[in-house]
């Protein structure tokens, strides 16, 4: 059973979003996503200052068996990429909702966050997908 923290928002493509106090959001991939990918060996995070659209591929996570894109849940400007992941991509496996965060961004429109999935909705999605 995957861990789905109650204080986060989610997407159909298995990203999570944390609302930070300074008006920016932190984004990562869920426990389910890291578990499906297996041991991560390489992560490419976006550069600070990049403008990303909602649903736009903005990071790449590569495991021993697959490589996949990470889509930005909301539109905004990247304020940071997690610098630790270049040397230690396994942080995503170890702590997907904490030290394994991918990037932070300042949303163009914070109201769009309410459009994302709630923990309950995401859990239902995992059930449908047979996770």
């Amino acid at each position: 059973m995957s861990n789905v923290p109650a204080d986060l928002k989610y997407t159909r493509t298995h990203e999570w979003v944390r609302n930070l106090k300074d008006g920016t959001v932190e984004i990562g991939i869920t426990d389910h996503a890291q578990h499906s990918l297996g041991d991560l060996v390489f992560v490419e995070v976006p550069e600070t200052g990049r403008q990303v659209g909602a649903g736009e591929p903005c990071a790449v996570v590569e495991s021993v068996k697959a490589a996949s894109d990470v889509y930005s849940p909301v539109a905004g400007e990247v304020t940071a990429g997690n610098p630790e992941l270049a040397a230690t991509p396994e942080l995503i496996n170890q702590d997907p909702f904490g030290a394994g965060w991918l990037m932070r961004l300042r949303p163009v429109n914070a109201a769009m966050l309410s459009e994302l999935m709630s923990p309950t909705e995401y859990e239902a999605l995992l059930k449908v997908e047979g996770a």
Binding site: E47, E62, S63, K65, A66, A67
Partner: protein
């Protein structure tokens, strides 16, 4: 490899097994309006005996001319053992096997090849090969766009001293993917690219600079200054090199303070015969930082469950069977057979042997240039140091002179008229270790006579 025939009954059984009534039905997916009904210009089929006769006649028409043309493909001596080993049944395949890890011998050979190319180019990693030198430049340009995340422009600076065919192939391959190849002119008196010519790009967003060493004229570029100029501006450097020359010249990994970022070239000089333009093979190497942006296959060394050494395809997440549309390239194979020959060639020659080939080739080219420049109406185009190839200026059009030499069984060089008309009548010549002093003397004599005859006419 075994010859596996199939009878009509075999075909019928196979079709029945998958529930299809005819072979034609397998192509149902292709709409009728997209099918080519007739193949105009393609002659009717010949039987084995007829094709044998035709090919023998064609080979005879080529003859055994004395060849002084280089221009990207070089006639070197290939020890007999190279192709005797390469064509053994265990190696004789054009591809990396589909069940790659079942063929440990092939993978070990590719691993050795990668090690040799990395060592020769001074780069940290090499792939298992590309198609040829020209496509390698295209792949390197696409790779530079992916690797240089500080640059958004997709602009690639390409000096006109880079092989004209490589420039054309790169533009044809990558031009439609948004890359812009911008030509940098050479210094006319020197036949090489000066840093001054790059000054106009200062402050602009440029993704990569291509540097060919030796350049198409055989002249040596100031690779350190060019590399340092690019590195200081966050521009990646793509080195295009002749592998034989690396036995004598500084490898791309040591250019300037930082080294080139990607090194490519055509591997033909390493044991692959000249054969109407191919097949040859391309090589590519880079720094570990960029390995995930490199196209093609990579073989790695590992240990199995029992701790035994083994070889495996690695970093496959770059490749199209995993990464699909986002793969680093549509290249999912390599030039396996030619790479086998090159690996055996390098093993047999060793570093000392390769150095002797390079030194002898350069000495023969100097001897050739000296002999030809004594002829009335012939002079060297540039005073710049060169490696085993040089440009001569003639006082009359080159094409008729080459035609006249051809009738005496001599291929006199590459006419630069089409690609470098600004030089006037100019001829690119090359001699490798395969040419004797007698060969050079007979070329000089034939050229002298041809020039004299042309003057009299």
């Amino acid at each position: 490899m075994a010859f596996i025939p199939h009878t009509e009954q075999d075909v019928a059984e196979m079709l029945a097994a998958i529930g299809v009534s005819s072979i034609e039905q397998l192509f149902d997916e292709i709409p009728q309006n997209l099918r080519v009904k007739s193949l105009a210009g393609i002659p009717t089929a010949m039987n084995e005996m007829e094709i044998g006769r035709l090919m023998t006649a064609r080979a005879k028409a080529d003859g055994r001319p004395l060849c002084f043309i280089g221009a990207g493909a070089y006639e070197h001596h290939i020890p007999a053992a190279v192709w005797a080993i390469t064509t053994r049944g265990e190696f004789y395949s054009a591809y990396t096997p589909y069940q790659a890890e079942a063929s440990q011998g092939t993978l070990q050979l590719l691993y050795e090849y990668q090690t040799m190319i990395a060592s020769l180019t001074g780069m940290q990693v090499s792939n298992a090969s590309l198609y040829d030198g020209a496509s390698a430049v295209a792949e390197a340009s696409l790779m530079a766009v992916r690797a240089n995340r500080k640059s958004k422009s997709q602009r690639i600076l390409v000096p006109t001293t880079v092989h004209p065919h490589y420039r054309k192939v790169a533009a044809a391959t990558a031009g439609n993917q948004g890359l812009r190849f911008e030509e940098v002119p050479y210094a006319p008196a020197e036949g090489r690219t000066l840093v001054d010519a790059l000054a106009k790009y200062d402050g602009q967003d440029i993704t990569a600079l291509v540097i060919q060493q030796p350049n198409f004229f055989g002249a040596l570029e100031d690779v350190d200054a060019l590399t340092d100029w690019a590195t200081a501006r966050n521009i990646l450097v793509i080195a295009v090199v002749n592998p034989t020359s690396l036995a004598l010249l500084k490898p791309p990994g040591e250019w300037g303070a930082h080294g080139a970022d990607i090194a490519v070239g055509d591997g033909q000089p390493l044991g692959v015969p000249l054969s109407s333009g191919g097949p040859y093979f391309g090589f590519i190497g880079t720094r570990m930082d960029y390995v995930r942006q490199m196209p093609g296959r990579i073989v790695g060394r590992t240990i199995d469950l029992n701790g035994n050494e083994g070889f495996t395809l690695t970093l496959q997440a770059r490749e199209q069977h995993i990464r699909r549309a986002k793969a680093t390239s549509n290249i999912c194979t390599n030039q396996g057979l030619l790479v086998t020959a090159a690996t055996i060639y390098m093993s047999i020659m060793g570093p000392q042997g390769l150095e002797r080939v390079a030194t002898a080739s350069h000495a023969k080219t100097r001897e050739l240039v000296t002999a030809l420049a004594r002829i009335n109406g012939v002079r060297p185009a540039f005073a710049t140091p060169c490696f085993h190839e040089a440009v001569l200026l003639l006082d009359r059009p080159v094409a008729p002179v080459l035609k006249s030499l051809e009738s005496k069984g001599i291929i006199g060089g590459f006419d630069l008229a089409e690609h470098y008309p600004e030089l006037g009548p100019a001829l690119l010549v090359c001699a490798t270790e395969t040419k004797t002093s007698e060969d050079i003397a007979s070329y000089a004599q034939a050229l002298g006579e041809a020039m004299k005859a042309a003057r009299a006419a």
